[in-house]
Subunit: 147 residues, 2 copies
DNA sequence: GCTGAAAGTAAGTTTCG
DNA sequence: CGAAACTTACTTTCAGC
């Protein structure tokens, strides 16, 4: 693991808040020179601490404000089943996140769709059509407290 | 809701993949002029479709590769309890996300810490100290399939 | 809503202390 | 690590369609 000093951590928190800040702006807030900040950012990118930059979207404005957490249990846990399921699930555009988890279910999926009818349609037409699905359990998001 | 044409959607998907692309690069991929792309991006920002830009981090390189989903039930659901709990939970730095959800539990939290001992410490010293906590149930991430 | 050109700025490199 | 000068590239505005 790479050595990160306090300035690195502060820098990371700044670019997390707003990745579009110029080196100059960052330098001011860190009380460092332009060059120093520039090289730190490059180092963090090079070492893979910062893996990329992305735009944050308002799901409501995109008509995808309905969020569900879907727990999935596979029918049988052969290596092939697992691989096939995982390959298929990442291709579903409604699946924003997918984690292999401990507990009663094997996977937890975070699903973005427009509304409940769209969720039902997703379940019936897409999710339950995935290979080796055993059963599922859905929990719906009522509100986001921290995201 | 704002009207988004196909070009907007394509543009959104491009800046989601890499927010640091220059207008020129985006213009090439969209087969539009520099200015046209520039104005579309500004429009999406102004209308609040794009709410910001952030850096993506490698949690492992940050020493926070242990992920848990913690379900929380409150002791009693008075309006004050809910407000107090929500105010307190967002302040915990280990809590990356917090959702109010349907089902057996009231909230689902996504927790980032270094390892299992750190998780135990978080539970004992921080989470169970929050106001109005009823009980909790933790599910651990074994692996990330899509994030 | 688009294009193309011009003016303004920042990024990125280099050299030096 | 920081300052300064410099080249290159991008951003932003504007007139015009």
């Amino acid at each position: 693991m790479m050595q990160l000093d306090n300035t690195d951590l502060k820098l990371i928190s700044l670019v997390q808040k707003d990745a579009k800040q110029t080196t100059k702006q960052l330098a001011l807030q860190l009380e460092l020179s332009n060059t120093a900040v520039y090289e730190r950012v490059r180092k963090l990118e090079r070492e893979g601490v910062i893996t990329g930059y992305t735009a944050l979207l308002d799901r409501e404005k995109l008509g995808k404000s309905f969020v569900a957490f879907c727990h999935v249990r596979l029918a049988r846990h052969t290596a092939d089943n697992v691989k096939e399921f995982e390959r298929a699930v990442v291709r579903l555009t409604e699946v924003a996140e997918c984690y292999h988890v401990s507990g009663d279910y094997d996977y937890m999926l975070k699903i973005f769709v427009a509304d409940m009818p769209a969720y039902r349609q997703f379940m019936v037409e897409k999710l339950t059509g995935l290979p080796h699905i055993g059963n599922t359990h859905s929990v719906f998001m009522i509100g986001g407290i921290k995201e």
